[in-house]
Amino acid sequence: MDCIKNNKRGVEILTDYCAGILDPAVAVEIDSHIAQCAECLKMVEAQRMVWEMLDVWTPLEVSRNFDARLYSRIADEQAQPAWRQWLHRVFVPAAPHPLWKPAFSLAAVGAVVAMALVVGIPGVGVPGKMPFAHTAPSAYKNAYKNTTVQAKAGPEEIDLDQVQQALDDMELLTPVGQSPSGRL
């Protein structure tokens, strides 16, 4: 048998062995192994020491009037109106629902998808290209067309004639024998 510390399930084996709940066949293997391995024996003894030490803390006696107090509280609660009992059940659940973590993850995913949809609204993206054009309803297509036209007419649109004119002006300003790029 491998040393406890080298075993993938070493921790589990060690705690179960000292708790006396390990499979008897495996426990016998451990017995024979620790008889030869000083390091594993040390680990087992240390865990065993903790286990026995914790036994010193003995359980307490429960108060004699525990049940009476509990039944009194139950009676008080049952005397409340039905709507209050219902509110208690709904808003004070016995334990946190085990599905709250997946629900939180789903809510986060939903929020991301919602954000993606908001950012992906047509008109905000590249003009002229309409996402989902083949599936969009006609009213939506018309609205999209209008926004594209407005974008074209806007000040951000690049006029190729103006660009050409600017380049020609630059060339005129350049000293003779030197190209606009600075090369001879």
Partner: protein, 207 residues
């Protein structure tokens, strides 16, 4: 070697008894759902002491632990109509108890309470040496040990503390502890490993 190993037959019998007990709890709770108050009394009788003692070791205050245990059983009773035996009853019960204890600790209420150990130490001492009158020396040694153990457990992070207490004192298995703590079994093993490692170093001087 270190302890007597249980025979395979004894182990199987123990497992069967455990299964029977689990089924009995679920059956009792289903009867409570149908309005059988006696079944609730039986459940209370079976789990009162384990729940109170688990909470006492978590919050280390007798009055508070009983108050929280009352809340646990009140919630069990309140949930009787919606109870479904999807998980083991003990897992569900300790999930409620752990949730309440962790909330109480996180609310910082612990700082407001200061419990005297003397009464508890005497009670525990009487159990340890029930057959004879403990000497002053024995009582003092016992008191020191209990105090050190309590301090060591109290110093553990909340989840490690809950995992160790359920594992050591309540005898819950890894899947039950993971159900009660709402984490995976491997996370429970990791919590237990770290907790026992810390306890080993903190209690070594008492050995």
């Amino acid at each position: 070697m270190f302890r007597p190993q249980p025979s395979p037959g004894a182990s199987v019998q123990k497992d069967m008894e455990a299964v029977a007990a689990l089924e009995r709890d679920a059956q009792l709770m289903l009867r409570v759902r149908q309005g059988d108050e006696t079944s609730f009394a039986l459940l209370l009788e079976r789990h009162r002491s384990p729940v109170v003692n688990f909470l006492h070791r978590m919050v280390q205050n007798r009055a508070v632990s009983e108050e929280l245990a009352q809340e646990v059983f009140l919630r069990v009773y309140r949930s009787r109509e919606t109870y479904e035996p999807t998980a083991k009853f003990t897992t569900w019960l300790f999930r409620i108890a752990t949730h309440l204890a962790l909330n109480w600790i996180r609310d910082g209420k612990k700082e407001k309470t200061n419990e005297s150990l003397s009464e508890e130490v005497m009670e525990g001492m009487e159990r340890q040496v029930a057959d004879r009158q403990p000497s002053v020396e024995q009582t003092m040694i016992y008191a020191v040990k209990v105090r050190e153990i309590r301090k060591a457990i109290e110093a553990l992070p909340e989840k490690q503390r809950a995992a160790v207490l359920m594992h050591k004192y309540q005898g819950l298995d890894y899947s039950q502890i993971s159900g009660a703590l709402g984490c995976t079994e491997s996370a429970v093993k990791s919590l237990l490993f770290r907790a026992y490692e810390t306890l080993r170093s903190r209690l070594a001087h008492l050995a």
